[in-house]
Symmetry: C2
Subunit: 205 residues, 2 copies
DNA sequence: GCATCAGTTGCGCGGCGCGCAATATCGGAT
DNA sequence: ATCCGATATTGCGCGCCGCGCAACTGATGC
């Protein structure tokens, strides 16, 4: 992304992190959703060209490594929303931001399918989506001008959006689905974003 | 609950499961959010009056055991919604069902706080909430008379509701919060349930 | 009562998370 | 160009954990 925003050291670090994450996901895909136990830490480390010990300087578990890409992606959703023009309504901005983020490169279907259809990965997968909620809630709060702790609207909306993205992903991966990911996302988000606007529910604390 | 609905075998099984889960949570609370690693499987098993080997006939990890109660609770949310009178609107029914389920016995604050404020437990905690989504989505689909695969509305709404419950819980646990859990839940849910009604977004696939 | 089945337990193996200390490598200032 | 401090990488080793296996025990149905 913006490599030049950090010094060389940090960039290299991030590079190995990505290498490990990528190797982990790749090996996981090879073994399929059943047989995750066969993906040994040793193999991941070798595939990434590092020692096993280094591998878990970066990740504390296979699962974490495999899902690291998704987690990193989620971390950008707050920024994506903030980068939308202020003229847009919250609804427009959220939908546009999410679609932009999740379709710029169309997600790797095999990878996404792997992490969303493997029970052992479920926990980390959910975590990956949930990391988006904090920053997203803040971005929503800023945009709507709501004081940080004055209501649950930003947090609840952020959670709902994250949930909608998850559901959209799951739907997109279903066998006979032909719609583009973008259109599915739009459809899913349309159910949650135009929620009760802040004004109407101003009554609460 | 309805102990008499199953034979002795099943009842004992469920009893040990609960015993282990309870012991695990209790020990975790004693150690606090930092020091989860000190809660050894051996201790949990002993506290539950069972061998370590038996412990993981039931659970594959500490985390799973500790969060088992929350997970079980989540599994009931679908039933709770189905038990609401059909005259109620979806909005009314969902709110009533959730509040009923989560306030009949007020949740154990210490336990909930433990599982929601411990990073290592995050994955399992999220899983615990997410298990509610499937059954809840089906219940919503049934109630609204939407064909199973005809739209994302039920699944998205279910995810949003689950998210709202999570956010409400987190808020309830915040230090200076005086509101009842019920009122917080109502407030949180009010942001997501009156979403775009199915009719308005009938356009999608 | 007896045959059967399900839940429990002891044993043991392989893998993993991680603390520690030594080493290699890199980046920046001189 | 060179040196030095910071930081990343690695090897080693310990203790715990997940789980397959096989023996045991008590509940269940005929």
């Amino acid at each position: 992304m913006n490599d030049d925003a950090m010094d060389l050291r940090a960039r290299n670090k991030q590079a190995t992190r990505q290498a490990i994450g990528h190797a982990a996901l790749q090996l996981a895909i090879e073994q399929g959703p059943n047989g995750l136990a066969l993906v040994r830490v040793h193999d991941i480390a070798m595939a990434a060209g590092v020692s096993p010990r280094t591998y878990n300087n970066y990740f504390a578990s296979r699962e974490e490594a495999i899902c690291s890409f998704q987690a990193d992606q989620s971390r950008r959703v707050g920024l994506a929303l903030r980068s939308r023009p202020v003229e847009e309504s919250l609804e427009q901005a959220v939908i546009a931001a999410v679609i932009e983020l999740y379709t710029d490169p169309e997600p790797d279907k095999a990878g996404l399918s792997m992490i969303m259809s493997t029970p052992e990965l479920e926990g980390e997968a959910l975590k990956a989506f949930s990391v988006a909620e904090g920053p997203l809630a803040e971005a929503i709060a800023d945009r709507t001008g709501i004081a940080p702790g004055s209501g649950l609207f930003p947090a609840v909306t952020a959670a709902a959006v994250a949930g909608a993205i998850r559901v959209a992903g799951r739907h997109w991966l279903k066998p006979g689905t032909t719609d583009s990911f973008a259109s599915i996302l739009r459809s899913a988000l349309s159910h949650v974003v135009p929620v009760t606007s802040p004004e109407r529910s101003q009554e609460q604390r």
